[in-house]
């Protein structure tokens, strides 16, 4: 999926004084975390040609929107701005930082653009208004149509500078979109842009899962009658059938090297968990139980598998080792807990549980300690999927009478509903990709 990047990135020129003397990052997962207040005035036209008013506004708006989506920034309203835009510039010497700190904006982003020939050059600078210092700056050259990519790249720089880790701007969500009695697999960018239809089988197609490198998506489809399992290569546009036993063929997890998958098969009468080695095709059975055993997912290090079983009466989450041994029950509260999803750092497992008759999203320590309810609204939540940086969870929830894909920060705040797609009545089963190196 790596797109050939046709524009050049130049690390500048701007040096961050505080970076050189060891940075103190802000812990955005701390309960006490307050969103970074940031002001983003219109970008300056640094070139000689005029008539680019729109672009000035576009950059400021696009960057505001992008940062807002992360859930870590409070964008200061333009109405509060004190600075005289005509007399100020975009470098440290040309900015009166008290204009910004006095309106509560701890951070300021300034930028400017110019054309050289057909290339667009854009500078971005992030300032600390309290210290009156530049934190980081970048200049990008590219085709005018690559301007959004430039914004996303700088947004990533901002997160890196303030938190020590970049964002998930180069990730996508795959999900099921249903209309009537047919459903297909779709993908959409992290920010809700560019929805894409991945399957067109005019059948029931379910349960998308990204391969670790994002080049493939697996799913189960009834297109030939039986719920069989397929893998589609997104670059070569080729689909192969990988499991077609009579009964259920469900793929719910890929190993981190992409060589093995976890399947649920019901060919022997019970739903049991198997490892399938993709190259050799070898099947390795992990559970032999008369109960329902479904939804297996490997821990990020591959040493453990979380799964759902009703062996103790109702669906609960269990953990076993990767050979299927040492099974222990993880969830004890509530009569229905399912859809385990391991956090990328391996410390927590998100799941859905029934709470007062509704399903909501929870997470629990991988040892079973400290269960936390993350969603509370009437629309409920099902099928959680972590972002690759562990900062967000996607899930499905009923909004305005319809099931939609939603995203929250992993602390449960900053709910965002992904945009709908025309003609599709219901969205569910989101799966978050890894980093796709899109930019």
């Amino acid at each position: 999926m790596r797109r050939i990047i046709s524009f050049l990135v130049f690390l500048l020129v701007f040096w961050c004084s505080s970076a050189a003397c060891g940075k103190v990052y802000i812990d955005i997962n701390s309960p006490a975390f307050q969103k970074f207040p940031v002001a983003i005035p219109e970008f300056k036209n640094l070139g000689k040609t005029g008539a680019e008013e729109k672009l000035s506004v576009w950059f400021a708006d696009q960057l505001s929107r992008t940062l807002k989506i992360t859930g870590f920034f409070k964008i200061i309203s333009k109405d509060a701005f004190l600075e005289d835009q005509n007399s100020s510039g975009i470098t440290t010497g040309e900015i009166d930082f008290s204009d910004w700190s006095s309106i509560g904006s701890d951070f300021l982003i300034k930028g400017g653009f110019s054309y050289s020939g057909k290339k667009l050059a854009v500078e971005f600078r992030l300032f600390d208004t309290i210290e009156g210092k530049l934190i980081t700056g970048k200049k990008y050259w590219g085709k005018p149509e690559e301007k959004k990519t430039m914004v996303l790249k700088f947004a990533d720089e901002i997160l890196m500078a303030l938190t020590g880790r970049g964002g998930v701007f180069d990730t996508k969500l795959a999900f099921v979109g249903r209309k009537g009695n047919r459903s297909e697999i779709y993908t959409i960018n992290f920010d809700g842009s560019d929805p894409l239809k991945i399957t067109t089988y005019n059948s029931l197609t379910l349960l998308p899962r990204w391969s670790p490198n994002g080049s493939e998506i697996s799913f189960t489809s009834y297109k030939t009658g039986n719920p069989d399992c397929y893998i589609k290569n997104l670059t070569r546009k080729k689909t192969r059938k990988i499991s077609r036993f009579r009964g259920l063929n469900l793929l719910t997890s890929w190993s981190s090297d992409g060589k093995k998958v976890l399947l649920v098969l019901s060919k022997d009468g019970n739903e049991d968990i198997y490892i399938k080695h993709l190259r050799s095709g070898r099947l390795q059975r992990l559970t032999r139980n008369r109960s329902i055993d479904v939804s297996p997912m490997w821990s990020p290090d591959g040493r453990k598998i979380a799964f759902v079983s009703n062996r103790s009466g109702s669906p609960q989450i269990f953990v076993m080792d990767s050979e299927g041994k040492n099974v222990r029950r993880l969830t004890f509260e509530g009569s229905y807990n399912s859809s385990p999803c391991w956090s990328p750092d391996g410390t927590r497992i998100a799941y859905e549980g029934s709470s007062n008759g509704r399903f909501q999203i929870f997470s629990i320590g991988e040892n079973g300690d400290n269960p936390v309810q993350l969603t509370f609204e009437a629309g409920g939540g099902e099928s959680p999927s972590w972002s690759p940086d562990g900062r967000y969870l996607a899930f499905s929830s009923k909004r305005g009478g319809r099931r939609r894909v939603c995203v929250i920060n992993s602390n449960g705040l900053n709910l965002r509903i992904m945009p709908g797609i025309k003609g599709i009545e219901l969205f569910k089963s989101p799966s978050w990709s890894g980093h796709l190196n899109l930019y």
Binding site: N181, L206, G247, V294, V308, P315
Partner: protein
């Protein structure tokens, strides 16, 4: 004169064809009233055949109507135990399948949309399997019954309320003539 000749030829041709048609008949001489009887008989036979076909068609339609009339059986939430009234219905279905050996059945297991899509696929599988096991216990050949789970994907009633959920937690039966 010429008209008489044509009539004569026609009569001759007709007689020959009648002899040819009745070639297997024992009587060597063909009388005209016998011819009439024979024609009448074949008309009656055709009518009888037609009637037979109609009857068969009606019977087939009746069977298909009977086959299509087996109602869905309901289930409780997160449960695949057969209810007593479902057992009665399955007994009727078993009798019917045993009586009509040239019919087969597909059992679809369905769930309401609460809980996990994946878990519901398994639950639907169990619901279909429970009905199949019951039919097999009653003597129906297992090979005549296929099961498939649609989980929560094909609700009968798409609303989110107890009434709709109850309708959606079901086994649906498709009974059809054995494919030749």
């Amino acid at each position: 004169m010429r008209r008489n000749l044509i009539t004569g030829v026609l009569v001759l041709v007709c007689s020959f064809s009648l002899i040819f048609v009745a070639g297997c008949a024992k009587e060597q001489t063909v009388k005209s009233d016998a011819e009439l009887t024979q024609a009448q008989q074949s008309a009656e036979e055709a009518a009888a055949l037609k009637e037979q076909a109609l009857k068969e068609q009606a019977l087939k339609e009746q069977l298909l109507a009977e086959a299509a009339a087996f109602q869905d059986i309901p289930f409780d939430f997160d449960n695949y135990d057969l209810k007593p009234e479902s057992r009665e219905l399955l007994e009727k279905l078993a009798d019917w399948l045993l009586e009509h050996g040239d019919f087969e059945a597909t059992i679809e297991g369905h769930c309401d949309n609460r809980g996990t899509a994946v878990y519901n696929l398994a639950l639907g599988e169990r619901r279909a399997g429970a009905a199949k096991a019951y039919l097999v216990n009653l003597g129906v050949t297992g090979a005549k019954i296929t099961t498939i789970s649609y989980g929560e994907e094909l609700p009968e009633d798409p609303r989110d309320c107890e009434e709709a959920w109850a309708k959606n937690r079901r086994d649906h039966f498709i009974v059809f003539p054995k494919k030749q």
